[in-house]
């Protein structure tokens, strides 16, 4: 895979380049800030670009740069890396795009397998969210927090949590030890209960389902 990356921490940047190369990926460019990366990618293409959220141009150059890159090369995947897994940044990332996009903790991509799996999933159009964040966002509703998801069953919440991690139907089925057919049924129920009707594309509805859950927890957006 052709990968570009921008990260202002030299030590981390160099480590990431070495790991990517060990995984067999081609590094088309590597910069310490967003502006240089935009310049670099104006004459080259990459399958996925990896961006540090907190880098120049300050304060969150990764997000600004991502918006520019998505406009330049809409098909290029974007992977955000950060020291923090915050729903605030996830919201902003999903505003950049809801396809071929990912958000992971820096220390969680430190293996060839995980890094390659993350990049593959993004390249194929999925949303990849750091599992710890996905879990926190869709954890069991407590007290009066139920809101829009009050109608969901425990099993449907499990499915929604795995959807928030960007898992495919088959992936969800494997995790929950049920058939893909059963997962489809749960997802159809979730869409129905959250009033997400069939006029949107399947992938888009998945994202909307997750966002509906987030909105039920946060009076934002």
């Amino acid at each position: 895979m052709r990968v570009a990356l921008a990260e202002d921490g030299a030590l981390f940047r160099e480590g990431l380049v070495m790991l990517l190369q060990a995984a067999g990926h081609e590094i088309v460019g590597c910069t310490a800030d967003g502006d240089s990366l935009v310049e670099l990618l104006s004459s080259q293409t990459a399958d996925v670009t990896i961006l540090d959220i907190r880098m120049p141009p300050e304060p969150d150059g990764g997000l600004l740069t991502a918006g520019r890159l998505r406009a330049m090369q809409p098909d290029m995947g974007l992977l955000f890396l950060s020291h923090y897994a915050e729903s605030h940044y996830l919201m902003r990332i999903l505003q950049v795009g809801t396809e071929a996009i990912g958000y992971r903790l820096k220390e969680k991509v430190g293996s060839v397998d995980v890094l390659t799996d993350t990049l593959d999933r993004i390249r194929s159009g999925e949303i990849v969210i750091e599992p710890v964040l996905a879990k926190r966002l869709v954890e069991r509703p407590r007290g009066g927090k139920r809101g829009a998801v009050a109608a969901l069953s425990e099993r449907e919440l499990d499915v929604l949590r795995l959807m928030a991690e960007g898992r495919s139907n088959n992936g969800i089925a494997a995790q929950l030890f049920v058939t893909p057919k059963a997962v489809e049924k749960h997802i159809a129920n979730i869409f129905g209960k959250l009033n997400l009707y069939a006029d949107a594309a399947e992938h888009h509805r998945r994202v909307l389902a997750v966002l509906t859950y987030l909105r039920s927890q946060r009076d934002e957006m």
């Binding site: 921490g9 030590l11 981390f12 790991l19 605030h88 009076d219």
Partner: protein
């Protein structure tokens, strides 16, 4: 390392211009130092440890496929580094919340609210304020939310800038928590009031902001 170089000053401060000015100035310095420490943690130790996980990943890749024991040892070390980083994130959050630094009071309060055991509705402007003002407002709300358990009523946090004063109104909270935030707010020359309610009620913090 001492994280609180500003000694507590006894005596009346609120409303006393002569005393509140140097105190407020020391308070500003204090929060700037805390913010700097948090940034140093992020740019220093945290980034070094994250880079170390990549080096372990590279090492693991070079270990022979057949050496399962060594591979599992490396996995274990990476998990431990993740735990170390989680500890550092907790510490950084207590020194000066990174999201408060990067995105401001509204996003930081909403993030905190999303982790609270009861519904917390946050209404805050996107405006940025001085680091000391944002931090004192943030930790004032933390003081209240920390006391909540899963059974309580919903809490409303309203943040408004009224001229030169930042008003933080918390409704549905234990008014006895007002004592906990009073000292810090007073050091900035502000006030904390509890208009009505002896247990669950409203707390209003007024923090001078320029």
């Amino acid at each position: 390392m001492t994280l609180d170089p500003v000694a507590w000053r006894p005596g009346k401060v609120s409303g006393n211009v002569e005393q509140s000015r140097p105190t407020a100035s020391a308070e500003h310095d204090h929060w700037l130092r805390r913010r700097l420490l948090q940034r140093q943690l992020h740019d220093g130790a945290a980034l070094r440890i994250s880079a170390l996980t990549l080096q372990f990943g590279l090492f693991r890749h070079q270990v022979l496929e057949t050496d399962r024991h060594l591979q599992e040892s490396v996995d274990g070390l990476q998990d431990q580094l993740h735990a170390v980083l989680q500890d550092l994130r907790d510490v950084a959050g207590q020194i000066y919340p990174p999201l408060l630094d990067q995105a401001g009071l509204g996003p930081a309060l909403r993030e905190m609210a999303s982790r609270a055991p009861v519904t917390v509705r946050v209404d805050a402007p996107a405006t940025r304020f001085e680091p000391a003002v944002e931090a004192i407002a943030y930790f004032a709300v933390t003081e209240c939310l920390d006391a909540l358990d899963g059974e309580g009523p919903p809490v409303d946090v309203l943040v408004r800038c009224d001229g030169e004063v930042l008003l933080v109104t918390m409704t549905g909270v234990d008014v006895r928590r007002a004592r906990m935030m009073d000292e810090q707010v007073r050091r900035m020359g502000g006030t904390v009031d509890t208009p009505g309610g002896t247990e669950i009620g409203t707390i209003i913090a007024r923090i001078p902001c320029e």
